[in-house]
Amino acid sequence: MFPTPLEKTSRSWQISYQVLLPIALIIWLLPLIAVANFSIKPESDFVNGNYWGLPGSFEALNNYGKVFFESNMPRYLWNSLWITIPTVIGAVALSCMAGFALGIYKFKSNLPIFFMFIAGNFVPFQILMVPVRDMTVSLNLYDTNLGLVLFHIAFQTGFCTLFMRNFIRALPFPLIEAARVEGISEWRIFLYVVLPLMKPALAALSVLIFTFIWNDYFWAVVLTQGPDAQPVTAGITEFNSQFRAAYHLMSAGSIVAALPPVLMFFLMQKHFIAGLTLGAVK
């Protein structure tokens, strides 16, 4: 293990490490702690210039209540949900199948297609922006959740296929051969042999895509406008202009907007990290 395990180091370093750890964490999260502190402060604190001290009174319920009951925030959250969940289902479904095809079968254009998916995943969004927006408008899907969902499914399929294909590649191939010898048809092999083995990959991808899509801002701005279809990342700017300079409300709003992926991360931590670090170990 590297660096040297703590048990084998000097007593003084062991103590300093235990002291350093929480200090480092507080410094690391300082901007966030400041915002969390903002979000539970009363308005009077900002008037009196008590910006970073302890809150004058505890106003969390009040501030967060305003976010939920006196703004469009719930509507934006609802939109985000209706953009994120269909995208997760669609992208995972498409990439399961594509990953199966690329991971199991040998055919000439296998690698070129695989590399097309990877390369497409890396292109700058801006080169897609004008045509995709134009197409969405002409399909009458501008400013709808569906318009965003379709694009997100398509784009995320690139990354998801890379993920799924590599995962399926690592499955024991003799299993599939055995099933073939038994005379099981190919799509049944997919359904009953491969798919059940892919559960960890499905879980990892779902949480990752959930986070990516929830946090998307660029496409939300390009393909939607106004509270009818805008997700929370784009809505937060409108929210902030509604409560201009009311830092206690703006910070409460931001925390609400950031929360769902955070919950997802803490609930599914193992899968989340397994997904992100795929390929970091040979």
Binding site: Q18, L32, F115, V130, F265, L276
Partner: protein, 317 residues
Amino acid sequence: MSVTPAVPSTHASEPQRGWYKRNEIAITPWLFLAPAILFFAVYVIIPIGQSFWISFHEWDGLGEKTWVGTANYERLLGWGDQNMDRKFETSFWNNIKWLVLYLLAIPAGLFIALFLNQTVTGIRFYKSMFFFPFVISQVVVGLVFSWFYLPREGLLNAILGFFGAGPVNILGDPTLATYGIIAAGLWPQTAYCMILYLTGLNAVDPEQVEAARLDGAKGWKMLWYVILPQLKPATFIAFVVTIIGALRSFDLISVMTNGGPFGSTRVLSFYMFEESLSEFGFRMGYGAAIAVVLFFIMLGFITYFLYSMYRDEKGAR
């Protein structure tokens, strides 16, 4: 599961093996690939071509496109007797700054990973809290940092004041603003690199480390000659995601400064958006030309990434 494509029912044709059954292994992959390829082609591959086409036109996004040849590129890059577009120049150099400084996330991530790679009680909690910034959307990171930087209310100036340094208005100063945004971007990116290295360190071969230790290697030498070579896959991924992340920077700039002050924080991706979809007008053709230039910058890196992956693929056979 309702995810299977419309595959003809096959189990009924047992007595006489039908055409599908005989060619099943050749056809199945294409049936499975069809939906993904269709979506990807319509929304990713074809639009790339369309953007190239649009970049040779003048177009407001609604009316007819007017063919202008390479005029957009001439104006942008200053070919012939024109000067290079000043905004483009600023954006390009800011992109370079982003690229170079964003790479700091890799050593910083490695450093934190080494710091946290211990087995004391509660270390799992620390690891996930250090990783936490990556999960938050860039929009919120941008807001958090712009409040952190506020000249009067911000915590940064409170801390600087404590050490006797004068208040700085980072986002209001054209020479500092870009660096302030990059610092905000480094926060989640470092967290990402950290988690990559933590996973990598977990898989480092303990026997090699012990052997090196017996040979008297320690500290920097151990890190450089024994540990880092084993972390190569993690470094590669950290490199890929950091480069892509640097060139994709848009959210932070849009939220923190909206390109200002005086256009000093624009990058190509932001400038492109501004030209084609903001109150400054709908110049889609010019915007597409900027996107094409950005695409070619990215293409250099993409080719390198794909080449490395291709080599690994070949090696794995």
